[in-house]
Amino acid sequence: MLDLALKGRPRYWIWVSFLITMILIGFICWMREHHIGAAFTTGLSRDVTWGFHVGQLTFFVGVAASAVLVVLPYYFHNYRVFGRIAVIGEFLAVGCVLIAMLSVFVIMGQPSRVWNVLLHATPHSIIFWDMVVLITYLSLNLLCGWTVLHAEKKSAPPPKWIKPFIYWAILWAPSIHTVTAFLYAGLPGRPHWMTALQAAHFLATAFAAGPSLLIILSMIIRKVSKFDPGQQAINKLAEIATYALIIHLFFIGLEFFTAFYSQIPDHMKSLIYLYQGLEGHNRLVPWMAVSTLLAFIGLIIFIFPPLRKWNVTKVIAAACVFFSIWMDKGFAFVVSGFIPNPFDRVTEAWIALNEFLVAAGVWSVGALVITVLYKIAITVKEKAVFDKYGQKQVVE
């Protein structure tokens, strides 16, 4: 099937070349970092040692995990509406896990030693488990998506042996994001991160941001190809995102209550820093204001059925929710965990250009993989789509 990725219209090739260029730029910037040192190429410091890249890990693991939202109803509850986009969800997960794994890889000061994580496997370190669950999830999604698509190409039902792997992937999805939450939740000196709600909150944000991205991708697929992921499926995704978004906002409220009712300074300070500024440091306040505003615009649109169902407003809301959560989880959450520092001082951090370009390179790797996989999936599905009920797609 891979050959299907080699035939495409000029705009496909322009997009692919753009991604490859971004990957090369990212790679050069990353090499530069190792040459002159992270002091000049990142916004990081002694006090804030994790920043933008770790944020990308956190965010994209979530988007990857959210594939379960289309896979589970389809394979587990026989929800046929998701038949057409199950593979789209699985392939999105593949690309996002790749972004997540590369995002950890690029923060390493000594990337050539990365094998030490396996050579000296350390079960009490969460990074070890994160690596294990991510690699497993990547393989599972690639295997399941590919096999099911292959069967579709031959107009046959998926082989029986793939079932256990599909169920395994379903169980695995929440675990990848839980383990990622554990990277933060168990650190004694970081009260902002140390909440038992962390994993649940991560899943809520993931289940809002992931479907939002799927909505946008589905609309794009509809525009550029003859394959239609299905209006009903897109509407359902918006519903799921609505519930998840509400839970996310509710969880933020819970964090605020716990911090401010208990009045424990260490638990309040990071929140104050984020939303109001601490001791004259307020670099993230406008950032959080925009993130909050976007979340509420998304919420209002999603909550009213006519607005949610109309495709124009739906896409706007999906974009708002996606970026709101990206801003929060993909940067602010990580940085604010380090504020204040162990000496009760504030050191702020920002995204450096070099750092951003490295991240853009990493996103491009993910986007390239998703593009290629989607190209294959769409070409197969454009011809004929048989879901497990043998329902053929109607191409308008």
């Binding site: 992270a38 002694r46 000061g109 990337p111």
Partner: protein, 256 residues
């Protein structure tokens, strides 16, 4: 449970301390001006700890002597920018050293005192727990070690340490060493480093550099030995530790 690997480590280590250690002590005692650990016996029950008598540090020079002794001997790069500096032992004021537990109405004299800060060699060290490659590990005698050749530079330990005691080499460290000590290795960019209680000296029966340079203001010894000097000092003075409430069990005590 002791694994075979641990057993070998302990065996190797105790032979170093027991036999080799005794040998070097004898050899070194002849060298003038070098203070020697008296309580090196067997590995069993040993837990190194440090007491800093903050009352005795009076002048800036008192601190500088100590810091210089450590940083010079360990080739610690001198980076001026506080955002990216590397420091194994340094000072801060009362309020920030004991952030969270500092008393507002304590005497002005204490408030104005400076406190020596370094890795606490916590008994229950979060930095060890989170390191994915065992580049940060515990020796059986309580020292939290840092293997600069295995560290992958993920900086997880820096998020884990509640004491700000770890340093990441954001810059090529060798460019910032003024006076090179050829006896001690230098580091590369992209790895983490920190105080190691001068494990290289302890293994030879010598006191850590800072203890030696402090001329009695810092007491070092075995916490598990009821007859050691450190136990005597601890029982006779009021001491505080940084962020005990986190359960990390810091092994550096401060006499107030």
């Amino acid at each position: 449970m002791i694994t075979r690997r641990d057993f070998l480590k302990i065996a190797a280590f105790s032979s170093l301390l027991g036999l080799g250690g005794a040998f070097t002590i004898n050899a070194l005692e002849k060298e003038p001006g070098q203070k020697v650990l008296k309580d090196i016996k067997a590995l069993k029950g040993k837990r190194w700890a440090m007491v800093i008598d903050t009352r005795k540090f009076k002048t800036q020079e008192d601190f500088e002597k100590v810091i210089r002794a450590c940083h010079k001997a360990h080739n610690v790069p001198e980076i001026a920018n506080p955002l990216h500096e590397v420091k194994w032992i340094w000072t801060d004021d009362y309020e920030h050293s004991f952030a969270g537990t500092a008393e507002e109405y304590i005497s002005t004299e204490v408030k104005e005192r400076k406190f020596l800060l370094l890795c606490n060699h916590c008994d229950n060290a979060p930095c060890v727990r989170v390191c994915p490659v065992k580049a940060t590990f515990k020796r059986p005698d309580g020292i939290t070690m840092q293997d600069m050749h295995r560290c992958i530079g993920c900086k997880f330990c820096m998020a884990g340490c509640p004491y700000g005691a770890r340093n990441y080499n954001f810059l090529p460290p060798r460019d910032y060493i003024k006076e090179l000590n050829p006896e001690y290795p230098t580091r590369t960019i992209g790895v983490v480093e920190k105080c190691t209680f001068c494990n290289e000296r302890i293994d030879r029966g010598l006191l850590p550099y800072c203890v030696e340079a402090s001329e009695g203001k810092i007491i070092f010894g075995d916490l598990y030995d009821p007859n050691s000097e450190i136990r005597k000092v601890l029982s006779e003075n009021i001491v505080i530790r940084r962020k005990v409430e986190l359960g990390t069990q810091p092994m550096v005590f401060y006499i107030i």
